[in-house]
């Protein structure tokens, strides 16, 4: 098939031409899936989020103003939709986390270097084992690069809560990494 420019793909999607929609889907699939899998607990959930995210994108592409790149625009849709899905599943993302923390044994041997030895798949596995709230806040802060203020606006929490939850999430993650060989969810 002929190589189309981004503008042509956008135009085709505005006209709801399924060929161009497919082009958009295939072009951005891997990047968007990477976002969805980070926010979800497993691959199936990520696929669902991805599908719904693309439906939203097809609907809203008429309003796309080209103020940012299509990749950035799609990423925002996927991130926001992932957060919405998590909120729908668990109204208060940070409510049940403290109980989960009790199940993680404290590590006597703290080795920060352990994280450097993780493979990407192991890192993803650990991320998915985090409670929804912690996983979300680590994603937004460390991967998406949002500030605490922006995280607060996204999640409907205060800046202080964002900071404190990130601190807890970091501690939780460290414990998971340190107990990688022994901890089973």
């Amino acid at each position: 098939m002929k190589d189309f420019t981004e503008q042509e793909i956008i135009l085709g999607c505005v006209k709801e031409d399924s060929r161009f929609q497919r082009l958009l889907f295939e072009k951005y699939y891997s990047k968007m899936f990477a976002i969805c899998i980070r926010f979800s607990q497993n691959e199936e959930e990520a696929k669902d989020i991805l599908q719904e995210g693309f439906i939203k994108a097809f609907e809203r592409i008429k309003k796309f103003k080209a103020e940012s790149s299509l990749n950035t625009w799609l990423s925002r849709i996927m991130v926001n939709h992932s957060i919405d899905c998590l909120k729908n599943r668990n109204k208060n993302l940070f409510s049940s986390i403290s109980e989960n923390m009790l199940t993680i044994p404290d590590s006597t041997e703290f080795e920060e270097e352990l994280v450097k030895d993780l493979s990407p798949e192991e890192a993803l596995d650990l991320l998915q084992k985090l409670p929804d709230g912690y996983r979300t806040i680590i994603n937004l802060y460390a991967v998406e690069g949002l500030s605490h203020k922006q995280i607060g606006e996204n999640l409907g929490i205060s800046e202080g809560t964002s900071k404190s939850q990130l601190s807890k999430a970091r501690t939780f993650l460290k414990k998971l990494v340190n107990n990688l060989n022994t901890y089973v969810v």
Binding site: T5, Q7, F25, K47, E52, A66, V115, V143, G145, L173
Partner: protein, 435 residues
């Protein structure tokens, strides 16, 4: 983003995550997405219809409720009269007598309208009250209402008979009140004030009855029939701004009291547009420039032109040509408004807030010509539903009997629009009829 020492750990972790092997899509996933998108679109088309069906249902229920409420209030007033009268007199009258009394009541009714009942005999009034009670008891509620209606009709037909005795009863007073739609009639006031205060019970009966009826009769129905013109702001489209949509509409509503009313309507507006555009085929570089413009301004006209450009594969060729662009648009408006009136029945100004649902049908046809030959033709029909909050300003001026002149202007800001239409300004004029 800057990381502090504490965040170094997360940064390393995030880097690990971002190195995940990219996953490629399968054709099954695309098929699933395509099906889900189609299903989603179908579902989205249904909800506006359901919304408007719901609004219409609510209005119908409201009309029935208020209509029934009016009848029940009258009946209740009669019931109160009967009970009080019963406590003062236990005389019994059979059904045949009651029927005769209806006839008497009807015949004597005229005196009420002529204000000749001021000096009537109070004891006779008491008797009639008792008779009404007896009249009501053997009958069920529906029959009572039927009897009332009969009395109304007869009383109207007998109003000019000169040989009516100066006598009346409560039943007729109630009927008379019912006929006055908004206010207590002057004759009734005179009756109430002139009745000799020999019996407090009767006075209180009459006062209660008049209050009940006055309250319930403050609801009246009306309809408006008119024409309207509309200036649409297609902010991002290539429509000439000096063209107006024109159409007709019908509104119907209820006056809750003299100040508040609700209104529901339907109107249809139409615009036929023809535009001829001359152009020179462009180079590929210019084509890209045109695409950029389209994205920036979301310009439908340029978008259509692009389609033709693709069809003709004109790249790197310079030709002169023209396109004829035809556009037919029909708007079906379904407005709902709550109005607050300042003024009186003869003349009032109102402000309104509400919602406007708009079903749009658009038929686009574009023909491209190069020289004298027709090189391409494309047509497209689209439907859409738009929803907008509305504010309005209007006035009524009574011109003849129940008829009034209606002038109004409404402004609506669309919340969703496939046409990139942002707002609509309407001017309406027409006639209003009060039932």
């Amino acid at each position: 983003m800057l990381y502090n020492n504490e965040d170094e750990y997360l940064k390393i972790f995030a880097d690990k995550i971002s190195k995940l092997n990219p996953r490629q899509p399968s054709s099954d996933e695309w098929t699933a997405l395509e099906m889900a998108y189609r299903k989603h679109k179908k579902q989205n088309k249904k909800w506006p219809l359901l919304l408007w069906f719901g609004l219409f249902s609510m209005l119908c229920v409201g009309l029935i409720y208020f209509s029934n409420n009016q009848k029940i209030s009258i009946e209740k007033a009669i019931g109160n009269n009967s009970l009080k009268a019963k406590s003062e007199n236990n005389a019994t009258i059979n059904k045949d007598t009651n029927k005769k009394l209806i006839g008497n009541t009807t015949t004597k009714a005229q005196n009420l309208n002529e204000n000749k009942v001021i000096d009537r005999n109070v004891s006779d009034y008491e008797n009639k009250s008792k008779q009404i009670e007896k009249l009501k008891n053997p009958l069920n509620k529906k029959e009572t209402i039927k009897v009332l209606s009969k009395v109304e009709l007869l009383s109207e037909s007998n109003t000019n008979k000169p040989d009516v005795k100066p006598n009346h009863n409560i039943l007729f007073e109630l009927t008379s009140l019912k006929l006055k739609s908004f206010q207590i009639s002057t004759p009734l006031k005179k009756i109430i004030t002139s009745t000799k205060p020999t019996n407090n019970a009767i006075n209180s009966i009459k006062t209660n009855a008049s209050n009940n009826i006055t309250k319930s009769s403050q609801i009246a129905k009306y309809f408006e029939l008119g024409i309207c013109i509309q200036n649409n702001n297609f902010k991002q489209l290539d429509y000439p701004s000096d063209q107006f949509f024109k159409g007709v509409g019908l509104n119907a509503g209820l006056h809750m009291d003299n100040k508040w009313s609700i209104n529901l309507g339907i109107s249809a507006l139409y615009l036929k547009q023809v535009k001829i555009d001359k152009f020179v085929f462009q180079t590929e570089e210019q084509q890209i420039e045109r695409i950029d413009t389209t994205i920036k301004y979301n310009n439908t006209y340029n978008r259509l032109m692009m389609e033709f450009d693709t069809v003709l594969s004109y790249k790197n060729v310079n030709h002169e040509g023209s396109s004829i662009y035809k556009n037919d648009i029909v708007f079906i408006h379904l407005p709902f408004q709550v109005r607050y009136h300042i003024g009186n029945e003869k003349r009032s100004v109102y402000v309104a807030i509400g919602a406007l649902g708009t079903i749009t049908y658009q038929s686009q046809n574009i023909t491209k010509n190069i020289g004298l030959s027709n090189e391409g033709n494309q047509s497209k029909d689209t439907y859409s539903f738009m929803f907008a909050p509305t504010i309005g300003l209007g006035c009524h001026q009574k011109i003849y009997k129940n008829w009034a002149l209606h002038l109004a202007s409404n402004y609506s800001k669309y919340l969703n629009s496939n046409l990139n239409q942002t707002n609509t300004f309407q001017l309406q004029t027409g006639l209003k009829y009060n039932f």
